[in-house]
């Protein structure tokens, strides 16, 4: 299933509303750094607008997988098609990648950090800020536009980094453990925040995490991976993705049972 009339590669979109996302298709993917096999025989499909979680132990190649999908790396085997395009340049044009660390530039204000994508494409500073401003309003960062990253809390920095990724205006979002560096309480708050941000279903999302609960709460579907070389062991559908309040969702017996099943599957995979 290919998604609708997405923007052509030559014209990177500048809008932050890319519509229904684009399908991501991974077939027989293998990747090795020299002799070190990181991923072996990974297949995965994410439909347009679907939120798919990838959960696995450390070192199962999750970050590498996202870099491959993003077009930053070329796989040593298999194929990745984003919106049907298998080329690295095509993937780079369609995927926005949010790395583990926020990577905010310390010399720019929050709003200039968020508007880095339009700015890099040649938009004026004023136009980049105008593009970012409504998102600050919408995502609870109003009033912090002129703050420097050093003045923001960890959760806020992560939100600014997320807005920067959104403003790249790509149909596919690749999120690499976006909240791994946060404390438990902030993390729960940020998961709820992201749930709202993803609720509109405008984008296809691949979310990598080692937190089963986070994945089951945020994603429509969760794929569990084996340790290196990473390959899928099981796939679970989430019962009630992104519903509020989070505390009620994660305490639901069906959710708890599913989490236990996921952990058991991960353990089987690790053996």
């Amino acid at each position: 299933m290919r998604s609708g009339p997405e923007a052509p590669v030559e014209e990177p979109r500048t809008s932050s509303e890319p519509g229904a996302g684009a399908a991501v298709e991974i077939v027989g993917l293998a990747h090795a750094f020299g002799a070190l096999e990181v991923i072996d025989g990974l297949g995965l499909r994410a439909g347009a607008g679907e939120v798919v979680g990838l959960v696995g132990p450390s070192g199962c190649g999750k970050s590498t997988l996202l870099e491959l999908v993003a077009g930053l790396l070329e796989p040593t085997g298999g194929a990745i098609r984003v919106d049907g395009d298998p080329s690295a340049a095509g993937r780079l044009a369609r995927c926005a990648y949010m790395p583990q660390r926020d990577l905010l530039l310390p010399w720019l204000t929050a709003i200039d950090n968020a508007g880095l994508a339009p700015r890099s494409r040649g938009a004026s500073r004023a136009a980049s800020r105008a593009a970012a401003a409504p998102l600050f309003e919408r995502f609870g960062l109003a009033g912090f536009e002129a703050s420097r990253p050093a003045q923001l809390s960890g959760g806020m920095r992560q939100r600014v980094a997320f807005l920067r990724t959104l403003l790249a205006g790509k149909p596919v979002l690749l999120l690499d453990e976006p909240f791994a560096a946060l404390d438990a309480i902030t993390r729960a708050q940020m998961q709820e925040w992201l749930a709202v941000a993803l609720a509109a279903g405008e984008r296809t999302v691949l979310l990598v995490t080692h937190d089963v609960e986070e994945a089951l709460y945020l994603c429509d579907r969760v794929v569990l991976l084996t340790p290196r070389p990473g390959a899928p062991v099981a796939e679970l559908g989430s019962p009630s993705p992104r519903r509020s309040p989070r505390s009620a969702v994660v305490a639901d017996p069906a959710f708890v049972a599913l989490r236990a099943e996921a952990l058991a599957a991960l353990e089987r995979g690790a053996r």
Binding site: P12, S63, E67, A70, G71, L72, L92, A93, C95, A96, Y97, P99, Q100, R101, D102, L103, L105, P106, W107, L116, A117, R119, S120, R121, R148, A150, R164, A168, A181
Partner: protein, 260 residues
């Protein structure tokens, strides 16, 4: 106020001891200090006042040489660092030459430069730029190369081309390093100016020092050296001020950075 106290106290103590050694006959005789060899600080101060017009005129000439030579080195150094940063081949090819340029004893080639470029401003600028070029280039290049490797990759996913990565990420990241190099360069630039003027000049503080040495006007020599140091310190101070305004963020690796 308190920040200034220790250096002022050290300088005052050094001047006081020097004054005592040069003035007090007992010590002066024991150490065989002759006034024409070691003028007392008060003699130097007197020469500073007495020769103020002479010193000011020559300081103006040397100051111009230093500022222009430094500016030349700054432009060339940044440009060279960027070029070497963008091309692995050029970096591997030219880095040894860059280091070799710093091993050249400037005082040895200065007279040759005068033959090539004449008696005027030219050879002085080249010599000062030669002295300043190395610290600026090497520090800027280090700055460009020490950028968090994840940043350019993130920029690529935001549709930034090579030029945008350089402009938005790498050059700002390198700015604190550039200032470190420029501050070193500013201080050594006056030494370059003296070498340049020694090789052929009819004005400037270096020229004044040479003439005063011939006339055994040691107090004037020291007074000229004092003015030279003041020029260097003023440039250093100006750069520090600029650095605090332009490169105020803390350089170095991000504390949240984790090994992958």
């Amino acid at each position: 106020m308190r920040r200034w106290l220790p250096p002022v106290a050290v300088i005052a103590a050094a001047i006081g001891l020097w004054e005592l050694a040069a003035r007090w006959d007992l010590i002066a005789e024991a150490l065989q200090i002759q006034p024409f060899l070691v003028p007392a600080p008060s003699d130097v101060a007197e020469a500073l006042w007495r020769d103020r017009e002479l010193l000011a005129d020559n300081a103006w000439v040397t100051g111009q040489e230093v500022v222009l030579g430094f500016a030349l080195a700054l432009v060339a150094g940044i440009a060279f660092a960027v070029i070497l940063h963008l091309s692995n081949l050029l970096r591997r090819s030219f880095y040894p030459l860059l280091m070799a340029s710093q091993t050249v004893p400037v005082i040895a080639i200065a007279p040759i430069l005068v033959v090539w470029l004449g008696y005027g401003l030219g050879p002085k600028l080249v010599i000062i730029a030669l002295v300043c070029f190395f610290p600026i280039t090497v520090n800027t290049l280090d700055g460009l190369r020490s950028v968090d490797p994840e940043l350019p990759r993130m920029m690529r996913t935001l549709d930034a081309g090579r030029g945008q990565v350089l402009r938005r990420v790498e050059l700002p990241s390198a700015l604190p390093f550039l200032f470190s190099g420029a501050k070193i360069a500013a201080v050594v630039s006056v030494i370059g100016a003296v070498f340049g003027e020694w090789s052929g000049a009819n004005q400037g503080l270096g020229h004044l020092i040479l003439v005063a040495q011939g006339q055994v006007l040691t107090d004037r020599v020291f007074a000229a050296v004092f003015v030279l140091s003041t020029i260097a310190i003023a440039m250093f101070g100006l750069l520090s001020l600029l650095e605090r305004r332009l490169a105020w963020w803390r350089p170095g690796p991000d504390p949240t950075r984790q090994p992958r």
